[in-house]
Every structure is written in C-alpha cells, then in structure tokens.
C-alpha cells in the first residue's frame, strides 16, 4: 500500500500531463496537477532545511573533522531564518500600514537585505570568481597535446578563446576579402578568428548538441514511461516494504 498509492499518483499525474498536450479537456486537470506540484516544491524547502539540520548536527555531535564549519553553517542558517521569518527591520507595507509584518522580507534596509547584500552576495560572487584562478592553473598543468584528440581540442580552444575577444580581430582582421589563388570561393577573410570561432559553434557544436539533445530526449521519454508504468520504482527508495 505504501508503494501502491505513490505509484498510482505518479501514473495518473503523468498521464494527465501527457494528455494536456493532445486533449484540450485535460488542460485544466494538468494545471491543477502543476499547482499541486508547485506547492509540494515549496514544502521541499522545509525538507531541505530539515536535512541540512540533521546532517550538520550529526557532524557536530560526532565531532567529525571540520565540525566547526558545521556549527558556522547552523548559526548562519538560524540567523538567516530568523531575520527572514521575523522580518527584522522591515517597515509595514504602504498598502497595509496597520499590519506590522506586511512589508516585503527582502525590503531594502532590512536585516535580511543586509545579510544578502553584504554577506551572501560577496561570498557567492567570490566563490565563483575563484574559478578563473583554478582554470588558469589547470590550463598550465593539464591541457597537454598528448594525442591527436587532445591536440584538436587544444587548437579549437585557442581559436574560440581568441575569436571571442578583440584579440581575434586584432590578429586576423587584416586578412583581405580576396579569393585565395586556386581555391573555389574561399577568401583570406574566411580565416578571421571570429569567423572561424563562429563556424566551430555553428557547424560543429550545434549539430553535436542537437544529436546529444535528441538522444537525451529519447532516453528521458523511455525512462519516464518506465516510471509511469511502474516498471522503474527506484524513485520510491528501497524495494522492501516498511
């Protein structure tokens, strides 16, 4: 029973959503199903928060290496949760001045806004910016022309890296728009780095991605059918009935 009901809900919802694409009468049902899905997605944040709490508390109680970071995570979590829920520093909205909590929790000047702008924002941007340093180190140490495939990849990377900046124009912009002697219709300017970069994107990357996308779509369709028909039940967890 514990597995049958979720299987039934998945199958009905899935087939209704498929039906919305073909049967107009199903559209309203599909919309209702999506509204329910969105509600559940909102509750998933609570589950996520609970899971975060559980994992970090386990680390702290077992005094695992790095448990101090877990403590910092928890403190940050509770402070953010409190200032957001209690709307610390938020003024009542102009429309509902009689209600103290009617303002927006991210209102400029509020405690939550302050945490976002001056802690989350710089930390988040810094973490992402660090990628540039690691990429440069990896480029120096790992990007080697060890075989034919790696050499082709390397050449293409150089063309795209240069072609996507003004360096490409500067280096090859002088090539004349004249036909190469003995060639049929190929001009020197066809070898402009930005042009070559565009050819790589249009004639190699796009067809390659199309093939991959179609492959993925077929895989998703067959996996979805297996889920809807109850053949694949791995999403329900262990096979053993509780």
């Amino acid at each position: 029973m514990k597995r049958t009901i979720p299987l039934f809900i998945s199958a009905v919802t899935g087939f209704v959503l498929i039906g919305t694409a073909f049967i107009p009468q199903f559209v309203d049902w599909g919309n209702d199903a999506m509204a329910w899905f969105n509600l559940l997605a909102a509750f998933a944040f609570i589950l996520g928060g609970g899971n975060l709490l559980k994992m970090q508390l386990q680390k702290i109680s077992a005094q695992q290496p790095g448990w101090g970071y877990a403590a910092v995570t928890l403190i940050a979590f509770f402070i953010t949760l409190y200032v957001g829920l209690a709307k610390v520093g938020v003024n009542p909205s102009v429309k509902f001045p009689e209600f103290a909590w009617s303002g927006e929790f991210q209102e400029e000047g509020s405690a939550f806004w302050w945490l976002f702008e001056y802690i989350f924002y710089p930390l988040s941007a810094t973490m992402f910016a660090l990628l540039a340093f690691y990429i440069s180190s990896a480029a120096f140490r790992a990007f080697r022309a060890k075989n034919t495939e790696a050499t082709i990849l390397l050449l293409i990377a150089v063309i795209v890296l240069l072609g996507r900046t003004y360096a490409g124009v500067w280096l090859t912009g002088w090539l004349p728009n004249e036909p190469i002697i003995g060639s049929s219709g190929i001009t020197y300017s066809d070898f402009h780095l930005p042009h070559l970069s565009q050819i790589i994107m249009d004639d190699f990357t796009t067809p390659g991605m199309r093939a991959i996308t179609i492959g993925i779509a077929l895989g998703v369709a067959s996996t979805s059918l297996k889920v809807l028909l109850g053949v694949d039940r791995s999403y329900l967890g262990s096979d053993q009935e509780a």
Binding site: M34, N38, A41, Q106, S124, T165, V169, M201
Partner: protein, 286 residues
C-alpha cells in the same frame, strides 16, 4: 629556465590571472564590438515591437553569475525602457529577487519619466515561486494559479498590468536571463516552444552550446556570455547614440577588456605548459 617552470608555484599563476583581470578593469580598457547576426536577432526582437508592448523579463540567476549576466539583464531592461515597454519581472531562483531589484532600480532611476511611480501600470515584480518548470507550465496556461499576488502582496486582479492577463501567451516577448537550472532551457521546453511565444535569452558561456540547437526555430536569438552582452550593448548604443556618454550602459563592453587579457594569458599558459611537456618528453621524464 624550463626546470624553474616545471616546478612553478601555482600562486604565481594566480597572481598573473589577478593582474590580467585587475589591470584592464582599473584602466577601463574597452574595445569596439561588431554585433553578430545572433545578437542582432535579439536586438531586433525588442526593437521591432511597437512602443509600449508587453514583455516578460524572467531573471533566473544569483550573485555567483551576476558578473556575467547582470550586464545582459540591464541591457534588456534598458532597451525595453527605451521602447517604453510594459515589463513583468519574475524569477524561478530564490536568490533572484535582489537581481530583479537591480533592474527595477534602473527603470526608476534612469527612466523616471516613463517608470517612476508607475509600478503596476508600467512594470510589475511577480517575484519568486517555487516549482521550477512547474511554474513555467502554469504561467503559460494560467498565470494566476501560480501567482495570485505580486512581490508586495497585492492581488494581481488589483494591478492594472496583470488584471486582464490570463497567461503569458498574451505577452509580446519573453526575455530570459539564466545561469542554469531552472532557466532558459526550461523556458524553451515548457514555455516558448509549445505555445510559440517569441523568446530571446541571455545565458552564461557554459550554457550557450546547450541552447544553440533551439535557434532559430524555438528561440529568436541568444546573448552568450559577456561577449553577447557587450555586442548587445553596442547594438543599443548604435541605435541610441545618446547612451554613449552613459558608463552604466557599457558594463558588458567594459568587461571585455579583462576577458581579452585573461584569454590571452590562458593561451600563453597552455602554450607554456605544452613546451614543458614536449621538453619533458624529449628528456624522457614525461
């Protein structure tokens, strides 16, 4: 010399990258940008709409990608403001609210004659909803089933812009700026493609190859990475030359300077790494 490079401390590489980005940024180096066909398709999609058209601006990114995507979002917003379009802001990312705030601030501060104090009649902020592609599926069919209020808690039936809006199939253009999931791909799969909503996107460089297959059938055009933003800014400046004196309208163009030097440094490092590799191979140590 090669032996020194063989054991080079990676902190020197970090320092070189820091200088490669910092110096052009401080010096304000910019370079002319030639707009590609793809970027012109995006520009024309916004430009060719009649003044005062309805545009949905879905900003699905967070501060981590703001460096790459904010110039696009600002350029989209600025271009729409120049055309006096009505703008519906929304996001599928919980951290997207403050990103929307930057665009609404731009509207109010840079185009006060059209947008100052016109919240609800010229632009509206629907804010964040949980549900990823579930939200997209709902807003394209029945907006008010997903959003019953705006970000300030006002019922959508009381807001002039949303009062008669059943779903976003009724808007003239969908602009999406996205850093990943949920984002451009989901908007195309569940929004623009099934319902033929004209859509333009701006995305990170990593996402660009994933989105290329959808152009031009499902997507009108795409701004890929900071280069796309810079080209779009250039296209807007070419059409509205008065923006040439506005440094805020050149954020993408300004970021192409550091990108150029960083790319050249990367190529130099790759070349140097390969010189060491072949030297080691010759010595029989690789």
């Amino acid at each position: 010399m090669l032996k020194i490079l063989q054991t080079l401390d990676r902190r020197w590489i970090f320092l070189a990258m820091f200088l490669a980005v910092a110096i052009p940024l401080i010096m304000g180096m910019t370079f002319p940008e030639k707009t590609s066909d793809q970027v012109m398709a995006v520009f024309n999609a916004v430009e060719n709409l009649p003044d005062g058209s309805n545009v949905v601006m879905a900003l699905d990114y967070d501060p981590a990608s703001e460096g790459e995507l904010q110039p696009m979002a600002s350029a989209f917003t600025r271009h729409c403001a120049l055309k006096k379009h009505n703008i519906y802001f929304m996001t599928l990312w919980p951290q997207g609210g403050p990103m929307i705030q930057r665009s609404t601030d731009l509207l109010e501060n840079d185009y006060p004659e059209t947008y100052k104090g016109k919240y609800g009649s010229k632009y509206v902020n629907l804010g964040f909803r949980a549900g990823n592609e579930g939200v997209i599926k709902l807003v394209v069919e029945d907006l008010k089933k997903s959003y019953d209020t705006d970000v300030q808690g006002t019922n959508l039936n009381d807001i002039p812009l949303t009062k008669n809006l059943k779903n976003i199939q009724q808007v003239d253009l969908l602009c999406n700026v996205s850093a990943g999931y949920p984002g451009s791909k989901e908007w195309v799969l569940y929004g623009s493609a099934p319902f033929d909503i004209p859509t333009v996107i701006g995305c990170t460089g990593v996402q660009a190859p994933i989105m290329l297959p959808y152009i031009p059938q499902q997507l009108t055009g795409m701004l890929a990475a900071i280069k796309g933003a810079a080209e779009y800014e250039q296209a807007i400046i070419n059409r509205y030359p008065e923006l040439n004196d506005n440094p805020a309208a050149k954020e993408g163009l300004k970021r192409m300077g550091p990108q150029l030097v960083a790319h050249v440094l990367l190529i130099g490092l790759i070349a140097l790494g390969n010189v060491i590799y072949f030297w080691e191979r010759k010595q029989g140590t690789a």
